[in-house]
Structure formats: C-alpha cells, structure tokens
C-alpha cells in the first residue's frame, strides 16, 4: 500500500508539471504583455519587475481593435441567435410534425456533415459578391448560418420529450409555435445555452471566411484584424501579446464561466452524449 501511494503522488506531480508546461505559452504571453517593450528582448524574467500596461494602451487606443470588437460581437451574436432560431424550428418540425419529405430532409441534413465548408469559399465568395455583401456584416454572417449539427442535436432531444406533453398542450389550444417556444425550448434550456455558447465561440474564432470576405481594416473581425497589427507596426512582442490577449478574452471568459456547458456541447456535437 505504501508503494502505491508514493506512485500516486509521483503521478500527480508529473501530471501537474505537464499541465503547467502545456499552459506555459499562455502564461508567457500574459507576462510578456505587461513588460515594457525593451525589457521583453533584453532579459528573460518569469515575473516582471514592474507591471507596465503601455502595450494594452497601444492595443486599445492606437489600433482598430475597438471596431474589430464591434464587428466580432455583432457578427458572432447574430450568427448565434439566428443559428439557434432557425435550427430549433427545423428540428421541432422534423421531430414532432409528420409532413411529406421529412425523412429526406433529415437525411440531407445528416449528409451535410460531410461537406467541408472550407471547400465552398470560392463559390460562396462569388455569391456574396452578387448579393453586394463583400466587406459587410451580412457577408461575414450569412455563410456561417448553416450548422447541421445543431439541428441534429435538437432533434434528438425533442425526440425524447414524452409525446403526451405535446398532446396535452394541443388540447389546451396551443399551436405548434407556442408549444415549441413556451414548452419544448424551456424544457431544453440547458442544451440551448450549451449550443449557443459553442456557436458563439466558433463564430468568434472563425478565421478563413471573415478573412476572405473583408478587405478593409475597419470591417475585419478581431480574429482577422489582429494579424494586421504586425504588418503596420513591425514586430513588437509586448504589443502583439497584449493584442492577442484582448482578442482571446471574450472566448476565454465564456469558456471559464460556462465550462460544463462548453464541454457538454462539444461531446454532443461529436456524437458522445454528455
């Protein structure tokens, strides 16, 4: 027994060491961001002598970060709300209403899993151009609205709601829209928050599409915009790190606040029920 507990402690220490090493680049980025630019390249200190926030001042007031934030917030929140709304209605119909073609529709949505959206960028770009949406919020948002997995997860959850519930509501004179928004959605509130948070994180983090569809710096999202800071000002690492940290903050906070929901949504979307 004695040997075993020694082994356990060693394993515990090892795990924590690896975890700290894993997270070290993040720590290093934070430390770098609060050093004066000169100190960054002259000495390697793991704890800064003085806290210096000039890099953050630069990031906030001398770059376009503020407008990138607005663009990211508007587009990610819109994507999240619309994705949830159109998917939940579609899933409810697929799950609860018998209508011609519903098996076919479900099959098509399942099959869409296989389509890599990255391969569609050329034709989506042409389409957005025809709509006159290049370099607009609409252009950033539209192609991100189809997330088949949200429909599928919702359908599975609605399938498991007892049928009697819907029958009872019908007898009370509720229409399907009322049943969905007053009964089924509140019943599955947990899963809605999970899917919404993960959709928001994914939309905030999207790179390729916003990168292609925006061409003026004012219209870029945070994820795309921060890659421009380098080019304009030369490499200054404290600034770069401050910009990177500010760009990551909204998703890092969302994750830390809603850890359980984030992991639940990820497991659901990969087919393992959480």
């Amino acid at each position: 027994m004695q040997r075993k507990s020694v082994g356990n402690i060693l394993l515990l220490v090892l795990t924590l060491c690896v975890a700290c090493m894993w997270a070290f680049p993040l720590y290093w980025a934070v430390v770098t961001s609060i050093k004066p630019e000169q100190e960054v390249v002259t000495k390697t200190t793991f704890i800064p002598d003085v806290f210096n926030f000039s890099a953050y001042y630069f990031a906030l007031f001398e770059t376009n970060l503020a407008s990138w934030y607005v663009n990211s917030l508007v587009t990610s929140i819109t994507v999240t709300v619309v994705v949830i709304l159109i998917s939940v209605m579609c899933a409810y119909a697929l799950s609860q209403i018998v209508f011609p073609g519903r098996r076919l529709l479900y099959g098509i949505i399942l099959a869409s899993f296989m389509v890599p959206s990255q391969a569609l960028v050329v034709s989506q770009f042409v389409l957005m151009y025809r709509f006159g949406l290049i370099n607009t919020w609409g252009g950033i948002i539209l192609p991100q609205l189809i997330v088949p997995v949200v429909v599928i997860v919702y359908k599975q959850f609605f399938d498991s709601v007892p049928k009697e519930l819907r029958e009872a509501a019908k007898l009370d004179g509720c229409g399907d829209f009322q049943i969905l928004f007053r009964l089924y959605l509140p019943l599955n509130w947990g899963i809605t928050t999970a899917l919404a948070i993960i959709t928001y994180i994914m939309a905030w983090n999207a790179f390729l599409w916003p990168f292609l569809v925006t061409n003026s710096e004012e219209m870029m999202t945070v994820t795309v915009g921060i890659t421009q800071v380098d080019d304009a000002f030369g490499v200054k690492y404290a600034r770069d790190m401050a910009v990177a940290i500010l760009a990551a903050l909204p998703v890092a906070l969302a994750y830390l606040l809603f850890q359980k929901r984030v992991t639940q949504a990820l497991m659901l979307s990969s087919g393992i029920k959480g």
């Binding site: 894993w22 050329v122 790190m241 990820l266």
Partner: protein
C-alpha cells in the same frame, strides 16, 4: 381530416422554411456552383467558358498541386496519430486526479482549444522567435544552435504540426476522459484482486474499452486536419520554398490571388471529394461500432 393534415404541413413548412431557404442559398447552391465553376475558365468574379476537364488536367501538370497534396498528407501524418496518442496519454493522467486538481489540470490542457487561431499563432511566433523566443533554449539544447523554425524547410511543417497538436488537443482529451469515465470501476477492482499489474489493466481493460473512442478521435482528426489552412497561412504562408503549401492554400492562391476561379474550384472539388470519401468511411466505421 384532410384540412388538419394541410394545417400540419403548413406549420411544418413555416418552421423549416428559414433553415431550408438559408441552406439552399448559402450551402447547397455553393456546392453545385463549386462543381460548375470547376469546368469553366471563369475568373473569381464573372462568367467563363465551359472547358470540360481542362482545369483538372492542368492540375496534373502543376508541380505545386502535387507539392500541396504531398504536404497535406505529410501534415496529416504528423498530426493525426500523435494528437490521438497525446490526447489518450494526457487523459489517462488527468482521470487519476481528484476534485479541484482534476478541474485545474483539465482547464490548463483545454484552454488552448478555445482560442482563435490567430492568437495561437501569435503566441507561438513569439515563443519560437529565433532571437528572443523562450523555446530557443530548448532547441539550442538539442541542436546546439538557434533555428528560425518557420523559415527552415525541414522544421517548418513539423513545427506547424506541433502548434496544431497543442492547440487542438483539448478536444481529444475531453472525448477520451468521457470514454475513460464510462469504464466501470469494478473491472479494475476485480483485476487488482487477481493481482493484475497496471500495464495488464491497461492492456486488457482500458485499451479494448477505449478503442471505440480512439477510432472516433482518429477519424475526426483525419477529416479536420485534411482541411488545414489557417495555421499554415498565418505562420509560414506556405513557405519556405513551398514546404508547407497545402491544398486549401492552393485554392486560395488560384482563386483569390491569381483570379482563377475555375481552377481554384477544381482544387476545391478535389479536396471536397477526399473529405467526403473519408467521412463515408468514418460513417461506416462508426456504424459498425454501434452494432
């Protein structure tokens, strides 16, 4: 009776309409258009002439196409299996922790996964900076010199792969932990009573029971990593000497840089077909598992 059915259908149509209309516009139509464009000599914006398979034949004569195929394969090789093994290894370590220590370890390992790609690449460009990067101490230890990793054709792709594993591993870790938690504890207790060693436990209990999750992670990774673009573009732009040029980057180059919408689409179709094939294999594999 028929009128009731009609209202039912009408409600259903109203409910699916927003999704279906969006789907047809920004998803189904672009899929069709991708194929259609690939048979034309269209520029990025504007119409082109039908030229049959000429774009595809052109690809076969383009050295950069084969370089991209090769590099994409090389990247897949460098990431898929290592990322799965690292995920399993870390999960085995993390599940043994208890309480808040486990939560802490999980957060530390998972945090990179939710960061935007450009944040990840900026952090690593600083960590790996040739002159001042802190990782250069480690590199110097092994090679005796500092290396500008993203400007060295031998180091560039493995480093992009390393950063990718660091960035995406949290997700695999999560799936493995869920899988490991599903293994009943009495299996291990019974084995321990029979005097099984840790290695035997892993070999006889953990590995066979975790295999379905492993297969899932492997195939998800395969599909994901075939679509590599962002990290490569941000860290190396395909260089040095095209040593990190990948398929999606060829799509970007042909369509958006050289204004060859048709040829770019042909590359996209190629990538599309590979991924659909792999996805179908995955579907079959997971269905077999489900039985």
């Amino acid at each position: 009776m028929t009128s009731e059915r009609r209202t039912k259908t009408l409600t259903a149509v109203l409910m699916i309409a927003p999704f279906v209309i969006t789907y047809l516009t920004v998803f189904a139509y672009p899929v069709y258009k991708m194929f259609a464009l690939s048979f034309t000599d269209a520029p990025l914006i504007g119409d082109g002439r039908w030229i049959g398979f000429a774009n595809y034949l052109k690809l076969l004569n383009q050295k950069l196409f084969f370089t991209s195929v090769w590099n994409t394969g090389y990247f897949v090789l460098l990431t898929v299996v290592p990322n799965t093994l690292v995920g399993l290894g870390l999960a085995l370590m993390v599940v043994r922790l208890k309480g808040w220590l486990q939560s802490l370890a999980l957060v530390l390992f998972f945090l990179p996964y939710i960061l935007p790609v450009s944040v990840v690449t900026q952090i690593w460009e600083w960590v790996l900076d040739q002159q001042f990067g802190i990782a250069q101490y480690v590199i110097e230890l092994f090679t005796g010199r500092r290396i500008s990793v993203f400007r060295d054709p031998i180091w560039a792709m493995p480093m992009v792969a390393l950063v990718t594993v660091w960035w995406t591993n949290g997700f695999n870790l999560l799936l493995f932990i869920a899988g490991l938690r599903n293994i009943p504890a009495d299996y291990y207790e019974a084995a321990m009573l029979d005097g099984a060693t840790r290695w035997q436990c892993f070999q006889r209990i953990t590995w066979p029971l975790i295999w379905p999750v492993t297969a899932l992670v492997l195939t998800l990774q395969l599909i994901l990593q075939l679509k590599i673009f962002d990290q490569v573009y941000l860290m190396t732009e395909g260089g040095p000497f095209n040593s990190t040029y990948v398929l999606l980057q060829l799509v970007y180059r042909e369509a958006f840089r050289l204004n060859h919408g048709g040829l770019g689409s042909a590359v996209a179709v190629f990538l599309f077909l590979i991924i659909v094939t792999v996805s179908m294999l995955q579907y079959q594999l997971l269905r077999v598992r489900g039985r």
